[in-house]
Amino acid sequence: MILAGIEPRAEFVHWMFATGFLVLGLALVAEAVVGPEVWGRRPWRRYLWPGTCFLMGLLMWPVMALYTNSMIHMVAHGSWAQVLMLCGAAELGVVRGKLHSQYWRLTSFFALLVSGTAILVHEQNGWFFARAAFLHHTLGWTAIVASVFPLVQAFRPRAVVAAYGFATTFVVMAVLLYCDRDIAPIFGHFSAWAGVPHR
């Protein structure tokens, strides 16, 4: 009961992770604009996005352990924690020079594919059940479709369109997460089973 009293609503956690995605998005857009050589001139900048990604993976574990309310939610959040850490760690290894293959970018492809699938699988309601359901479907398909960008980058690291697409994906995901309200209507639709709406 005490825990329930201090536990944040799901949307609060989503907004905080949206901020992390926005940081990732801005860093990746800037890198796409200036190119990897200029971006990598200062060592701390090279670590910015993989470090943030890895940190978000770490922070997803307490979310999984403390704030999920069903087994399927727990599994989904656990899978996001794992793939965020995997993707961040692989990219950290690449920028540190410990890993050399360009194919490590496939971890980002894998992360987006697994994340998108987990979002879609753990959302049990239809698109127009409530705003959160709509956003889960949109986020899931966005991640799955966008996984093509890191896939292209793994084989063609200098593909500009793929770099912009990968960067934009994180900005879009941030916007979608910021739009989240766990109990709110979407485009005027709201299921009678969704609960009491709030602002």
Binding site: P8, F12, L26, A30, V34, V38, W39, R42, Y178
Partner: protein
């Protein structure tokens, strides 16, 4: 200070101020302010998202969760921590 050196310094300063920014520099410099603007517009359109404007009776999480402010802060951090060094490196690489 010798006249030659002063003239050279003056010329390089004039060049710095007159060299037009490339589209890359402009985009990098615009990313932060654009993000800040997005957060400000959001706060104006949905003021109830900022519980700090009406804090009475709000719980701890409602007071911590201020998403438009999060967006503004990210934009400011990018503008003042990331953009200046990035623009300097970009200008240096473009001058070569």
């Amino acid at each position: 200070m010798s006249a030659d050196y002063a003239r050279g310094l003056q010329a390089s300063r004039a060049e710095e101020t007159t060299t037009p920014d490339t589209w890359r520099v402009r985009i990098v410099l615009a990313l932060g302010p654009a993000t800040v603007a997005a957060g400000v517009v959001w706060a104006i359109v949905q003021p109830w998202r900022l519980t700090l404007l009406h804090p009475h009776g709000q719980g701890l999480w409602w007071l911590i969760a201020e998403p438009p402010l999060y967006v503004v802060v990210v934009g400011l951090l990018f503008r003042y921590l990331v953009a200046p060094g990035l623009v300097a490196d970009l200008r240096e690489s473009e001058e070569r």
